[in-house]
């Protein structure tokens, strides 16, 4: 344990913990809306699409974060828009965008040849490798996401609960849906650094579903989900340092343990 505490003296561990906690809080808050609106797989689909954007950035030699944020945000709007233009439901749109992202990613990876190792770190996450600039950008964006959620809280809650009645209150559900989609895209891109593309949706889903088992009110679910997400990241990083396991996978398994415990508490 002393060794683990000694790790805290290292700047890279401090950065990982700080940016991880902030990103987790954003994911925890957003996840509640996504799960209750039955858009849980939106995070998964966007993460798969990010495979293409990261591939493009690596191929061109650009910073993946700057390329991924606008492109994944556009993909999130496309997922919302497709079911209104074509005869399909939202889950099919997620599946299609996700598949196209992976296909382009694989194509770019084969074209680039040399960056497969870098791509691998994005697939499985590497929070302990977060740089200073990246951490600052992540913190700024997460603060923006949290402020947006707080400002739009009542509208998001109303639309999530019943969008027809929300409309009769003068609320435009389309605006709330677009806001949620873009914020989700931001958190997915940032979350990729923490747990990787393959597991980022777990940061959106697990804390929210666990909080749903424990709380009665909407506000309590939001706060609990954010706290559980942050706690899972801190616990996961410490366990990973202690047992020398991959941080991303450990964080996901900690989340699974929290969820199992919440089920035991219910029964």
């Amino acid at each position: 344990m002393r060794e683990v505490m000694e790790f805290l003296q290292f700047a890279f561990v401090q950065r990982a913990l700080l940016s991880g906690v902030f990103i987790a809080v954003g994911c925890g808050l957003l996840g509640v809306f996504l799960v209750l609106r039955r858009h849980s797989m939106m995070g998964d689909g966007l993460a798969h699409f990010a495979f293409a954007t990261v591939g493009l950035a690596l191929l061109m030699g650009w910073a993946p974060l700057y390329v991924s944020i606008p492109l994944v945000a556009l993909a999130s709007l496309l997922i919302l828009h497709l079911p209104t233009r074509a005869t399909m439901y939202g889950d099919a749109a997620i599946g299609m965008v996700s598949a196209v992202g992976v296909a382009i990613g694989v194509l770019l990876s084969s074209l680039g040849g040399g960056f497969s190792v870098d791509l691998f770190s994005f697939l499985f996450g590497d929070i302990l490798a977060v740089g200073r600039m990246e951490a600052r950008l992540a913190l700024g964006l997460v603060v923006g996401v949290v402020v947006a959620i707080l400002l739009a809280y009542h509208e998001l809650f109303a639309v999530t609960f019943d969008d027809t009645s929300a409309r009769v209150s003068g609320i435009r559900p389309e605006r709330s849906s677009r806001l949620l989609a873009v914020l989700t895209a931001l958190m997915v891109v940032l979350g990729i650094r923490v747990v990787g593309m393959l597991l980022v949706s777990s940061l959106l889903i697990f804390p929210a579903v666990t909080a749903l088992q424990l709380c009665r009110s909407f506000k309590a679910v939001l706060v609990t989900s954010a706290m559980l997400a942050a706690l899972s990241v801190v616990t996961g990083i410490f366990i990973a340092l202690w047992l020398n396991t991959p941080a991303g996978a450990t964080i996901v398994l900690v989340n699974a343990a929290f969820f199992s415990a919440s089920l035991l508490r219910r029964t």
Binding site: T164, S165, R216, F218
Partner: protein, 257 residues
């Protein structure tokens, strides 16, 4: 000024007409029952009046304003036909659900204050569900849930209350107590009520006006006019007319037979 007014209103879903040149006026303080068979356009009519659907042709106004330009949503209370599909598992307390009604008419970010808390408390007391304030909405019985949703619709003391088959999932006792509550509130508050129902007997007992729809208007007017109309007698048959009018007259039976 009429509360809702439609003129030659037609609404279509794809190629099929849901409403065909419907002209109807609901005035202040009137209690309208909208009845008609399945697919007759009852829900379509009120949804178009609230701007949830767009007309193919004709006009509709809400308090004299086109629905898409209407902004005073605090004047409208709405209880939709189907509760949110997420209901049973949705993490919201009764207090939170009723407070949603207070968002109407507020500007972004629609923050709620002490006056809103007071209005929520008052609506819950009025509907006799103050004891359920901190219960999760999904834990309530059907009757309790409808009362809570009615509290949400009434929390702004609206000038217009629209109820779309509010007693569909209720047992007969809960249904009767729900309608008694509604009638009592109408007597006290004087707001316009538009009630969509299949239960024409109950409609006849509580409402003052009847709109009989079957994509177009078959009858629009007071129950008295409906009950004394030989034409309606021919159209619906004496048994159907008697069922509605018997309840409206409180069993007195001044119907045209």
């Amino acid at each position: 000024m009429n509360v809702i007014e439609t003129t030659d209103l037609s609404v279509a879903y794809g190629m099929g007409m849901a409403l065909d040149r419907v002209s109807w006026r609901a005035g202040p303080g009137e209690f309208w029952a909208i009845v008609g068979p399945n697919g007759s356009g009852k829900t379509t009519l009120v949804k178009t009046a609230m701007g949830l659907l767009q007309p193919r042709s004709g006009f509709v106004t809400l308090f004299g304003v086109e629905p898409r330009r209407f902004g005073a949503w605090q004047r409208v209370g709405y209880l939709p036909q189907f509760a949110s599909p997420a209901f049973p598992k949705f993490p919201a307390t009764v207090r939170e659900v009723v407070a949603l009604g207070r968002l109407a008419g507020k500007r972004f970010p629609r923050w709620l204050g002490a006056a809103d808390d007071e209005a929520v408390k008052s609506a819950l007391e009025r509907l006799g569900v103050a004891g359920l304030t901190d219960r999760r909405i999904g834990e309530l019985s059907g009757g309790q849930r409808q009362r809570v949703l009615l509290a949400r619709a009434l929390v702004n003391r609206p000038d217009l209350l629209i109820l779309d088959e509010p007693t569909l999932a209720l047992d007969p006792d809960s249904r009767e107590s729900f309608y008694a509550l509604l009638a009592e509130m109408h007597r006290q508050g004087g707001s316009t009520i538009v009630l969509i129902t299949h239960d024409s007997a109950t409609a006849g007992k509580h409402a003052s006006h009847l709109l009989y729809l079957d994509r177009s208007v078959l009858f629009s007017g007071t129950f008295q006019d409906f009950c004394h109309s030989p034409e309606m007698n021919r159209q619906f048959g004496s048994v159907a007319q008697h069922t509605i009018c018997h309840q409206h007259d409180g069993g007195g039976g001044s119907c045209a037979k």
